[in-house]
């Protein structure tokens, strides 16, 4: 049995996720879309907090909201003239998009709903401390993630190089 507060919080967060997602993809102002994205990401971070993954929520805010959205904003400012980028969708495109997303929603929704163990409540979990996360990140045993950690660093390096090469003027 959840506390009323958490249920209210849950409702707000869920509504935020749904509404801002829809708005992010339907608004005709690109900068607004980025803003709605930011809100959605914040809402996701709240969900992480609600599910007791505080570290993850922090990362979400830091990386996504702090990094990626800023990147978007820069990019939008670089590529668009203010006010002129309102766009009118062709209805055919919209129908196609709707078909695909509703189909997706139906298929995935059905498969989620058909799993009865998803109708269980939140089990108890030990509070996740930073030590555990840190050990898991640096360890080499089972359930530990040194290899992905190293690998993702190579990936990030490559993406930096790639980004620079592509973005460089000549």
């Amino acid at each position: 049995m959840e506390s009323v507060g958490s249920i209210i919080l849950y409702t707000i967060v869920c509504l935020a996720i749904v509404i801002f997602s829809v708005l992010a993809v339907t608004t005709r102002k690109i900068l607004r879309a980025a803003t709605y994205l930011l809100f959605t990401l914040f809402a996701a971070a709240v969900v992480y907090f609600m599910l007791d993954y505080q570290f993850l929520g922090a990362v979400q805010i830091a990386v996504y909201a702090g990094g990626i959205v800023v990147l978007f904003v820069f990019a939008i400012l670089l590529t668009s003239h203010p006010g002129s980028n309102s766009e009118r969708l062709a209805s055919k495109r919209r129908v196609l998009g709707l078909i695909a997303s509703i189909l997706m929603l139906g298929v995935c929704g059905y498969s989620l709903l058909s799993r009865c163990n998803l109708f269980a409540g939140k089990p108890e979990m030990e509070a996740l401390d930073m030590q555990t996360v840190g050990t898991a990140m640096m360890g080499t045993g089972a359930g530990q993630y040194l290899l992905p950690f190293e690998a993702v660093s190579v990936l990030l390096l490559a993406c930096i190089i790639g980004g620079i090469v592509v973005a460089r003027k000549r």
């Binding site: 993809v25 670089l78 495109r93 997706m104 996740l128």
Partner: protein
């Protein structure tokens, strides 16, 4: 009332589908990227929710999300670099004009 896993999953799925819709319909490439971010974020949420509700004793879902955020950042960076590059070349970011190569 108990908040079940599915109550989290459905918004996440809606987010995913919104992303999908946006990706399929937006003309601005950056808007498409925004939609993509929604999709990726929805996947991340899925992992976290599954981890928390079904397998709380381990951290795999959470760790996956952690790395996925990093990957998403990298993707966005490269994609934005490429889009800016295109913008330099053709002076716009409308994806429908990029159809020189077809058939």
């Amino acid at each position: 009332m108990e908040i079940k896993a599915i109550y989290y999953l459905i918004p996440s799925l809606i987010m995913f589908c919104c992303g999908l819709y946006g990706f399929l319909t937006r003309r601005n490439m950056i808007a498409m990227l925004i939609s993509l971010e929604l999709m990726l974020n929805a996947v991340d949420m899925n992992f976290v929710i599954f981890n928390r509700f079904l397998f709380p004793e381990q951290l795999e879902g959470m760790m996956f999300t952690l790395f996925a955020i990093a990957i998403a950042a990298a993707e966005t960076a490269v994609a934005i670099a490429i889009i800016i590059n295109v913008y330099r070349s053709v002076n716009q970011v409308d994806v429908r004009t990029l159809n020189q190569m077809k058939f």
